[in-house]
Assembly symmetry: C2
Homo-oligomer: 226 residues x 2
DNA sequence: TGTCTTTTGTACCATTTCGCAAACTATTCC
DNA sequence: GGAATAGTTTGCGAAATGGTACAAAAGACA
């Protein structure tokens, strides 16, 4: 007997922006929010990324976002929902950061270099120690027990594999790879390289060393074309 | 003002076995233990591996080990120390499981296959979902904030790299690799492959798929010698 | 002006969590 | 048998945790 009156589910957070066109001022009804959901979610993401789900308390989140707990709850739902939304946000950010490169028409090597460079930017960012990759370092842990998070993790991994595979396919068509190169296998190796640097970054391995690993991996994947 | 009288540090847990030779019955002094430290530590390890540090409570540990909290504390120290000891134990186990293969004189490919096979056994074991690799999935998370754990993680990663590198060096000497193959670079790729399957295993990717990834990776690393 | 709507802030609750002290029990040594 | 020793059990307690009720606040609308 936990819940009593509890408004249905905490509402889909989205303020249902009247008309998707009226961008500027649909003039919401009641008391105006004291926070920007976007930046608050960003702060929450930072925390979760740093400490994982269990070690991040609602008080921490409350302090970091500047919202008090009831507001947090109203805006994002309970802790787990907030975690999931943070993870979604992380994925959007990562996708956005990498979209250009994955779309661009660059030589394969150059492209890979850029991708890993951006990834390193993401993994190493953060004043309080490098934060690594959300998928690898906190979501994967939760994945065993939570089916929703698990599905997201699987999807993230698959998405990355696919993006890399497409790079390698294009590269192969352009003759940048030997004929017997298998784009799918290479894509998995490319993902693996991303994963390993995420882990190592978390352990404070220096950017220089990580870049060396990347360089070596690219060399192997693209053939020893020295 | 938390601690008051607190016996110094909880003592190095080791009962200081009188003489290292008197293997069988050094006849400990006081009341005999109701638990076997070894199996208790194993249980603790299982729990930490499944849920990570923060999400595992002392009550959980107490239930799993059959020891009540004061005994736990007396035997292993506080939660963090128990975590660290569990991690040490995990590393010992992993080392032991892999020692033979790393020492054996096998053809490179065969050797790698065996290594990954054993790794998969470790990663997938566990009734309540696959547990993955301690280093990758829980220790790495803690590594940002805890210097001791960080050092252990770095050491684990380096140890693995070195072991793989030695495999590749031997393989190269035997002519199983092309002359321009770089054992160090390959070792990092081999580690990366291990890391990626640890992560994927945690997300319930099937053993068959993981084996396919391994097979592809070995193919690339050892040269396309089909 | 007054009503209605949405959000905030305070305070609260039940539960869990970690850690510890104090008393009790089983064993060895003398 | 009586210390001395090592371990167990019970149970406390202070703090933290996730979550919520409720009244006050701030604006829109009529």
């Amino acid at each position: 007997m936990v819940q009593k009156t509890r408004r249905p589910p905490p509402a889909p957070a989205k303020p249902a922006p009247a008309k998707p066109d009226a961008a500027a001022a649909p003039k919401r009804r009641g008391r105006p929010r004291a926070y920007q959901p976007d930046v608050a979610l960003g702060r929450a993401l930072d925390l979760f990324r740093k400490s994982g789900f269990a070690a991040t308390s609602l008080d921490d989140l409350s302090a970091a976002t500047g919202m008090n707990r009831p507001s947090l709850y109203g805006a994002f739902g309970d802790k787990r929902e907030l975690y999931i939304k943070s993870y979604e946000r992380y994925r959007e950010n990562a996708r956005a950061a990498l979209a250009d490169v994955f779309r661009a028409q660059l030589p394969l090597r150059k492209r890979l270099e850029r991708i890993y460079g951006i990834a390193l930017d993401i993994y190493i960012s953060g004043e309080e120690g490098p934060k690594g990759c959300f998928t690898v370092l906190t979501a994967a842990s939760e994945a065993v027990n939570d089916p929703v998070i698990r599905a997201m993790v699987i999807d993230s991994l698959a998405e990355l594999d696919r993006a890399f595979a497409s790079c390698f396919r294009v590269g192969k068509e352009r003759g940048e790879l030997s004929d017997d190169a298998d784009p799918v296998v290479l894509s998995q190796l490319a993902s693996a390289t991303l994963h390993t640097i995420a882990i190592r970054a978390r352990a404070h391995v220096s950017r220089k060393e990580l870049e060396a690993i990347v360089k070596g991996a690219i060399g192997v994947m693209c053939g020893t074309g020295k």
